[in-house]
């Protein structure tokens, strides 16, 4: 195979120097001339009727330009259940509910003015868990509904009763997965501006510029064609901005009333309060296997508290059912998920999108089965591993598949036994956990496509204009590497333009580990088209047929050794009568399908990624503290376009996953966040990180660009599963509720000691 010049190289992210030195213009840094600042007034209660809103004191405060309330806008509803509105008028349904906004000369004054708005409420009874929300006579959270029950998702293949009858061992475990927050370094920011023709321009940290155009149009009662969205440098998002949230239209409403650009920037507390959280789940899994180690069935039922308004959290069962049905080979599967409204926080998309939850219960059950069977947990998984070029019962077309290789790599590492701990009250253990993740997008919309334009200018500089979005994941670098590879130019010669809906072609958004794969394929197609034009002109210049030419180091070379520089070819094509520029365009939409809306069968992704992790832990039986000593991550990534970037994703994912496993939880009391700051919300710090070993399994995906598959989410999904299995291995107690805090570990140890 030809050696690559740009693909597969360890290249630091192209935007890293500017980010590290503070030169990048983040949303937080963004200013427009004449721009004013907004702040939002939220509800003081979890459920209440608004009797009166008195904004007079806020309006009178010096420096305040205007105050907006629901009275300033036509009544619109948005969200995919149309259950949310920008500003609440009659009833507030959670502490996150927006009631009013203030525009002022600076953020300080805006926030001060917000406090002066006087709201009279009649407090209504509220519900803070699924059981209470489902009780008879529970207060109804959304009007026009019969109950707080939102939706049930069910999935089946095979016959679970038969599967259970065929089982020699059966296990059951109930797990409770917590709320966690994306905790992006940059909080949500938005700047909204109207021109005189009432066109709206929005600078936003969104992950879905094109969908936001549409959703925002609906929320504002205006046409999406009059909305242009620009994205500044985004300081992380992790799924947080995969939906429209009320603050988006509120910024526009403010800008419209103030008649100047308005900036709205979340505080960290607002991030916790008004932003979405990862979906919490209470789930019971029953699973079985035969004495020979073959899996027989899985039966899963769960409830999900989606909060007072529906966002993406309510769709995470689609991903959880995929893991339940298709991760390892299981002949009989039943899955049921009930989503319920409460007066709690809203839940959204977050890295892994259901997989951190499903990996936890599936892999807990796998270890319990292995133990009952007396099998080695890794060998047990190898026996049941998904295989390349198979179709799962659910209809997932698994093409490349490195799961078995990942497991074998861990088995090899596991031959080195753990050193015993230094003191008797410290116990060590080892556990594995894995995940199946879409490896190249997921067809949730009718289109899962992305557009790209590659243009080469007269100086040989290349622009890739991609529909995709950079949120810190490193897409600009890997996309540039792919284009550079095809055109045979240095990576530095490729600039990626990706921040303007008026310039770039459509893309569904940055989610589902799709950008390298989908935007990568689009970029490659566009680059190949550009290369074809280059060869066409070069063939005239070199007197050789286009298909005999090759590109190398910015030169186009003929079989006889004659060559011409890329830029010269472009100029020659350009500066002539009837001249043409070099530009390629492509729109790539993967060969996938929407799942059937009732049976949920269907192949939603063009590729599937597999990852396994092995955690070595030390449990202090006196304090319950768990220290992770080492994390080995074996991931089927198709191909590493940039190994350094892959490591970044996996290690960053490990940090997030370790937080989920051990320290992070958004604590809520009666719908109110008790720890909305980074002192009390405990992210895993660098001082807590274990040694990480990365094993990249390159399964070379047939559809992926250069064989690559997405890796963005996988790193974080299976850490908690590996850690809980390792804790069990160390001290013989099964923790079912992350984060596995010292108090939970100690309580489990005490219960075990009490018999």
């Amino acid at each position: 195979m030809k050696e690559f010049s740009a693909v597969g190289k360890r290249i630091p992210k192209t935007d890293a120097p500017d980010k590290v030195t503070g030169r990048a213009t983040y949303g937080q840094d963004f200013k427009l001339p004449g721009m004013l600042h907004g702040a939002i007034r939220y509800s003081d209660h979890a459920h209440a009727r608004i009797l009166n809103i008195d904004t007079s004191k806020a309006e009178a405060l010096e420096g305040v330009k205007c105050v907006v309330t629901a009275d300033d806008v036509p009544e619109t509803r948005f969200g995919f259940y149309k259950d949310n509105m920008p500003l609440k008028k009659d009833v507030v349904r959670s502490h996150r509910d927006e009631i009013a906004g203030v525009v002022a000369v600076n953020e300080m004054i805006a926030r001060q003015a917000v406090k002066l708005i006087k709201i009279e409420y009649e407090i209504l009874p509220a519900v803070f868990n699924v059981a209470d929300a489902m009780a008879e006579n529970a207060p109804l959270i959304q009007p026009n509904r019969d109950s707080n029950h939102l939706i049930t998702n069910t999935y089946n293949h095979g016959d679970v009763e038969q599967g259970e009858a065929e089982s020699d061992v059966v296990v059951e475990v109930t797990c409770k997965l917590p709320y966690v927050n994306h905790a992006s370094m940059e909080t949500c920011v938005i700047v909204a501006k109207f021109d005189h023709s009432q066109n709206l321009t929005l600078w936003s940290t969104t992950q879905i510029p094109f969908l936001l155009q549409k959703d925002l149009g609906a929320a504002l009662g205006m046409s999406p064609k009059n909305i242009r969205i620009l994205q500044p440098t985004i300081g992380g998002a992790f799924g947080r901005e995969l939906d429209i949230y009320p603050y988006h239209p509120i910024a526009a409403i403010m800008a419209k009333k103030a008649q100047v650009p308005v900036r709205l920037c979340f505080s960290r507390e607002e991030e916790f309060r008004a932003g979405p959280q990862r979906q919490p789940v209470e789930v019971t899994i029953r699973a079985g296997a035969k004495n020979n180690g073959d899996l027989t069935f899985r039966d899963v039922s769960m409830t999900l508290d989606v909060g007072a308004y529906v966002s993406w959290g309510s769709t995470t069962p689609m991903v959880m059912m995929e893991t339940t049905a298709s991760f390892y080979r299981v002949p009989h599967v039943r899955f049921k998920a009930d989503c319920v409204y409460t007066n709690n926080l809203i839940t959204g998309a977050m890295r892994g999108y259901g997989n951190p939850q499903s990996s936890f219960y599936v892999e807990s059950a796998m270890d319990m089965l292995a133990e009952k069977l007396g099998m080695d947990p890794i060998q047990f998984r190898i026996q049941n591993a998904n295989q390349p070029n198979t179709i799962t019962e659910q209809g997932l077309k698994i093409t490349s598949c490195g799961l078995e290789d990942c497991l074998k790599a861990l088995a090899e590492r596991a031959e080195t036994k753990l050193e015993p701990a230094a003191q008797p009250h410290l116990k060590r253990g080892r556990g594995v956990g894995g995940t199946l993740n879409v490896g190249g997008g997921a067809r949730i919309y009718r289109s899962d496509g992305c557009g790209a334009t590659v243009k080469v200018d007269d100086f040989g500089h290349v622009s890739l204009i991609t529909g995709s979005t950079e949120i810190g994941q490193g897409s600009e670098t890997v996309l540039a590497q792919m284009v550079a590879e095809i055109l045979s130019v240095p990576v530095d010669d490729v600039r990626v333009i990706n921040s303007d809906t008026d310039v770039k072609m459509w893309d569904v958004g940055v989610h589902a580990s799709r950008t390298t794969f989908i935007a990568g394929n689009a970029a490659c197609l566009a680059a190949k088209e550009a290369l074809g034009q280059i060869f066409e002109t070069a063939s005239e210049l070199l007197g050789a047929s286009p298909d005999s030419l090759k590109a190398e180091n910015g030169q186009i070379i003929a079989p006889d050794g004659k060559s011409v520089s890329l830029s010269k070819v472009v100029r020659s094509r350009h500066f002539r009568s009837g001249g043409q520029m070099v530009f390629g365009q492509a729109f790539y939409d993967p060969p996938t399908e929407l799942v059937d809306k009732d049976s949920y069968h269907g192949n939603i992704s063009p590729a599937y990624g597999f990852g396994m992790q092995m955690a070595d832990v030390e449990v202090d039986t006196e304090t319950g503290q768990v220290r992770v000593l080492k994390l080995i991550c074996a991931k089927d990534i198709g191909r590493a376009i940039n190994p350094m970037a892959v490591e970044g994703q996996i290690e960053g994912g490990a940090q997030m996953g370790l937080g989920y496993a051990l320290s992070e939880e958004v604590v809520i009391k009666e719908g109110k966040v008790m720890n909305p700051n980074f002192v009390d919300y405990r992210l895993f710090t660098s001082a807590d990180m274990p040694e990480i070993e990365n094993i990249m399994i390159e399964s070379n995906d047939p559809e992926g660009p250069f064989g690559a598959k997405g890796i963005g989410e996988m790193g974080s999904s299976c850490v908690a599963a590996a850690v809980t299995n390792a804790i069990y291995d160390a001290v013989g107690v099964r923790l079912t509720q992350p984060p596995m805090t010292p108090e939970r570990v100690l309580a489990a140890l005490d219960t075990k000691a009490a018999g």
């Binding site: 507390e269 002192v679 710090t685």
Partner: protein, 339 residues
């Protein structure tokens, strides 16, 4: 982002100038050293000073002087926590203090944060360390602007937690604090023993008037002696993570052993279990003047652990923190006696 409200910043160059500024602006002014505690609190409006009197330009606050005659150390209140943690002479002579300072938060905060600020650290509570709007929606509490304590509604006083890592060590080492305040045109100073500097009342936790400036800390000498004779000291901190977290429990210990290994003197101080560091007198008495048998150590642990009456206002559940007290104190004893 929560922004700092506007204020006027003063940068006096001497103690006299600093206290004079405080006298001039009165209640509208506050001292600020590293600002790592005060600024977050100002953003959340626990404090709303219009004038800040910065202490970073006052040379006297940066002294770190060991007396010629070996009687002890004078440590300026403005010395950074990192310097306290890493100074070779502090590491050698007051290892418990160096360790406590090294366990505060994270490197960046230890570079900015000062020992003086750490010793004057505001008490903490889940219901207090929240934004203005958060507190207002629930109703303000006793510690600031309100009349109910959300942690214990029947409590007549605030139960916010003393969360400084260095304060228990200072009490255990019987440090003395030198305070300066304005007296007309002049400067008045007084010396307060560390144990009297702290009051077990979350809202009113320092025996110090608002205009008093902590100038320096005076530490007596502790001879460590050789082969287990002399003073041994340690600080142990229970926290969830290895960085950032305030202590859930801090145990400062200092033991003086006799030639025969018996305990001549014991100092045991618990941090983060009350509104002030709590000295475990009873436990000290049990160990004083006797051999360090396992039984006596166990009795002392139990006596000390009794002081820990955790409330539901910090990280971790009540029952866990209660359980931890004796286990963790045992480990703290084991650790220091091994040193």
């Amino acid at each position: 982002m929560l922004r700092l409200p506007p204020f006027e910043y003063h940068a006096p160059k001497s103690i006299a100038e600093a206290v004079a500024l405080k006298a001039e602006y009165g209640e509208l002014a506050m001292y600020v050293a590293g600002g790592t505690d005060l600024f977050p609190n100002m953003k959340r409006q626990q404090f709303t000073p219009q004038n800040l009197i910065g202490l970073r330009k006052i040379p006297e606050l940066f002294q770190l002087v060991f007396d010629q005659d070996g009687t002890g150390l004078t440590l300026g209140a403005g010395v950074s926590l990192n310097e306290v943690a890493e100074h070779p002479d502090i590491l050698k002579n007051y290892p418990a203090l160096a360790k406590a300072a090294s366990l505060v938060s994270a490197p960046q905060l230890r570079n900015m944060g000062t020992i003086g600020g750490n010793l004057c650290l505001d008490t903490r509570c889940t219901y207090y360390n929240q934004s203005y709007q958060w507190r207002k929606a629930l109703g303000f509490c006793l510690k600031k602007s309100g009349d109910t304590c959300w942690v214990a509604r029947s409590s007549p006083k605030c139960l916010a937690v003393s969360s400084s890592d260095c304060a228990p060590v200072m009490v255990a080492l019987e440090a003395e604090f030198c305070l300066a305040s304005p007296a007309g045109e002049a400067v008045k100073t007084r010396i307060v023993p560390a144990s009297e500097f702290y009051k077990n009342d979350g809202a009113n936790f320092l025996n110090k008037t608002a205009d008093e400036l902590l100038v320096s800390i005076r530490l007596p000498t502790y001879y460590s002696g050789k082969s287990g004779i002399g003073w041994k000291m340690n600080y142990r901190k229970l926290s969830r993570r290895n960085a950032i977290d305030f202590p859930l429990l801090g145990v400062a210990t200092a033991f003086r052993q006799k030639d025969n290994g018996d305990c001549a003197e014991a100092r045991i101080v618990l941090g983060a279990v009350g509104s002030s560091p709590l000295r475990a007198d009873e436990a000290e008495k049990i160990l004083q003047d006797g051999s360090l048998t396992l039984e006596r150590i166990e009795d002392a642990v139990q006596a000390a652990a009794k002081l820990a009456k955790p409330l539901d206002n910090t990280d971790m559940t009540l029952s866990y923190r209660k359980k931890m007290a004796s286990r963790f104190i045992t480990e703290a004893f084991n650790e220091v006696l091994k040193v």
